[in-house]
């Protein structure tokens, strides 16, 4: 997994509550059997004016100039500022894959949907929950100041604003450890393979009906 320690990047405000994973990456792009290449179709239905298809040449498609992702001042953004319940809906990991592939490394919102939140950490993407009032403030500042960047330090759990002031954030200790070190969860879990086998044998003795095969 990709490591994450510090990141400084241009912030982009996506002013919309309950952004669902269909909005992040529409279903037709889920037909891919690969993990990469989803960035050009991030927010596809808003970003372009026509309907996207997996094999389309996206460079020829008409852009929706009103959509924040297409505005010149936000080109190169890597910190996404979002509203509450970001990432709700489907469990598709294609949503964090698309955000990461596009170039986002940090997401900041007052709340995230559970499955999406969890999926981000598996892909070197750091989702940060901040108080709604602070997020409102950040939206105001990003809108007011062109080139507004935020510096995120995962080890210190701080976000530094352009004026030098810092905001603290919470992060789960295990997820922080995995992100900082780019650790593969499967490898970590398999260190407990013996404990899993012991559990499994006891469970099989106690509840053999979970181990029967179809007749």
């Amino acid at each position: 997994m990709k490591k994450f320690s510090v990141h400084t990047g241009l912030a982009l405000p996506l002013d919309r509550a309950n952004v669902d994973t269909d909005f992040i990456i529409p279903k037709q792009f889920l037909k891919s059997i690969k993990r990469s290449g989803f960035g050009v179709n991030l927010f596809d239905e808003r970003r372009y004016l026509d309907k996207g298809e997996p094999d389309a040449d996206n460079s020829k498609r008409p852009l929706n100039a009103d959509f924040v992702l297409n505005q010149p001042r936000y080109q190169g953004a890597s910190v996404l500022l979002a509203r509450q319940n970001f990432g709700c809906g489907s469990s598709r990991e294609h949503a964090p894959w698309a955000l990461e592939d596009f170039g986002f490394r940090v997401l900041i919102a007052p709340s995230f949907a559970d499955i999406f939140f969890n999926n981000c950490f598996k892909n070197g993407l750091l989702p940060i929950v901040l108080d709604k009032k602070i997020v409102d403030q950040l939206f105001n500042e990003v809108n007011a100041v062109e080139g507004y960047t935020l510096a995120v330090d995962l080890q210190a759990q701080t976000i530094t604003r352009p004026d030098g002031s810092t905001l603290a954030f919470e992060v789960d200790a295990f997820r922080k450890h995995c992100l900082l070190n780019g650790l593969d969860d499967i490898g970590l879990t398999l260190e407990d393979a013996d404990a899993i086998s012991v559990f499994e044998n006891q469970w099989r003795d106690k509840s053999p009906w979970y181990f029967t095969l179809p007749s």
Partner: protein, 480 residues
């Protein structure tokens, strides 16, 4: 010490290891697999040289990309016209063969929507932990199993380790007291709940649904309720095990047989929350207050009773909420104050993991029997949840009722719930849909979804706009 909730019991019985950092290793009894969220997981195993921990804990079936017309289906894989979809379905076949996983492939009579197939095969049992790379895995909680959706990285993790790294959720109880009125269904209950607590109301919780109205539901109705727990933000929904659960499971292919079944059933019937269990949040609804529900917006919480109207954002005091309503109405092409019954429809979709089981089809057929689909309806689809549901429906003659009324009778799959196959809602068209999500573009680019129960969708098909299905049922009663 306070008693345990059902969720506490399921958690405790599957706890392999509690780690110091607050995470836990939870043993997973069953993984259900479909073609969309698994290819990258299998590829991950291959790249790392790993094998499934317990191949027989997995069951696969393709559903999202599967065509639903008879002619396409008769040609098997070659009948999938979109080459990208065809590769994805073929990749599932290849992966299951390579890793020794049982797959009910697209030509198998038992194929269907993974969340219909699991319980139908008895692959979902009470007291199990279940995952699937699909958020509607919450469905299986209806049988008293701890079941939730995971991303592809976790699909791979469970394949390789038979475990999931989890942090325990909080406990929420949603109690629906009293009896439902005639014509009001499980779908209306869960839409009313989401309207009440919001799409993020259950975030961080496992929701147990209880109370007389829930206990009175059939197992299929319970699945409809748990299916949409995720639409309230909860990864898992649960319903206590009772005799209805045990009776449903008996005789299913994966279920234990004979003496082992009786022993299992005794254990399963203990899977209820203790009377003194603590819930972090309790929400109580009165079943008598629930009337058939229709969504008007682009989030399942944007819902109103069929007797109600589309809200006016200018009347909304919260500015954020007002803006959400404005965005939704713009997308939906609806004006504030429009009566729900005046919303005209172009398409009707009866299907999805929420409402494609035999009882759903019976409820829809009862409404359309002897009637005709309104001439303004351009397309009305009935898509059974599995090959076995289809077979049962045909044995009961439901297919003929639908066809005579002017609805199309299709082959099983996810179909227009998310439109990954050819069944897509055209831009600007309004659809009465029995599915679970009314997000922008969900059923097709620019499509406008209204979530309803199967009976409400059927009634809408007949009239070309929403009607209160309770009026139709009265009419039917009078006629008989």
């Amino acid at each position: 010490m306070a008693g345990k909730t059902l969720y506490d019991k399921l958690w405790d019985s599957h706890l392999v290891k509690q780690r110091d950092d607050g995470t836990a290793l939870i043993y997973i009894d069953r993984q259900l697999i479909h073609e969309v969220t698994s290819p990258q997981a299998f590829e991950g195993l291959r790249l790392a040289g790993r094998k499934p921990w317990r191949a027989d804990a997995n069951l696969a079936t393709p559903d999202h990309n599967i065509p639903t017309t008879k002619i396409e289906r008769s040609r098997g894989l070659e009948g999938i016209m979109d080459p990208v979809s065809r590769i994805q379905v073929r990749t599932l076949d290849d992966n299951c063969r390579e890793f020794g996983i049982l797959e009910l492939d697209m030509n198998d009579e038992r194929q269907g929507i993974v969340h219909v197939v699991g319980p139908e095969q008895g692959a979902t049992l009470p007291g199990m932990t279940i995952v699937c790379g699909d958020s509607h895995t919450s469905t299986h909680g209806a049988l008293g199993a701890l079941a939730h959706g995971v991303g592809t990285s976790e699909v791979e993790h469970v394949m390789a380790t038979q475990c999931l790294i989890q942090r325990k959720m909080k406990n929420m109880l949603i109690r629906v007291d009293g009896k439902l009125n005639p014509g009001v269904t499980a779908k209306d209950i869960v839409l009313a709940i989401i309207g009440d607590i919001g799409t993020a109301g259950g975030t961080g919780f496992t929701i147990e649904f209880g109370g007389e109205a829930i206990q009175s539901l059939s197992l299929e109705g319970r699945m409809t309720v748990c299916n949409m727990a995720i639409e309230a933000g909860a990864r898992a929904g649960l319903i206590a095990v009772d005799q209805t659960t045990v009776d449903y499971i008996r005789g299913r292919p994966f279920a234990p047989k004979g003496e082992m079944f009786d022993k299992a059933a005794d254990a399963w019937l203990q899977l209820v929350s203790d009377s003194d269990a603590h819930f972090d949040r309790v929400v109580v609804l009165d079943a008598a207050d629930i009337i058939p529900q229709v969504t008007w917006g682009t989030s399942p919480e944007m819902v109103a009773p069929v007797t109600g109207m589309v809200p006016d954002p200018d009347q909304e005091t919260d500015s954020g909420r007002a803006e959400n309503i404005r965005q939704a109405l713009k997308y939906m092409g609806l004006k504030p104050g429009t009566a729900i019954r005046d919303i005209k429809l172009d398409v009707v979709f009866i299907g999805s993991c929420t409402n494609s089981r035999i009882e759903d089809l019976r409820a829809a057929a009862a409404v359309v029997k002897g009637r005709k689909v309104a001439s303004s309806i351009e397309l009305a689809l009935v898509v059974p949840g599995s090959g076995l549901v289809k077979k049962q429906a045909e044995a009961e003659g439901l297919d003929k009722i639908f066809i005579e009324a002017g609805l199309e009778w299709r082959e099983p799959g996810c179909s227009m719930c998310l439109a990954m196959n050819a069944d897509q809602l055209p831009a600007g068209k309004h659809c009465a849909s029995t599915s679970n999500r009314n997000f922008e573009g969900r059923q097709g680019f620019g499509g406008r979804t209204h979530l309803v129960s199967p009976a409400m969708a059927a009634a809408a098909a007949i009239h070309g706009h929403f009607v209160d299905v309770r009026d139709i049922l009265l009419e039917t009663d009078r006629a008989h």
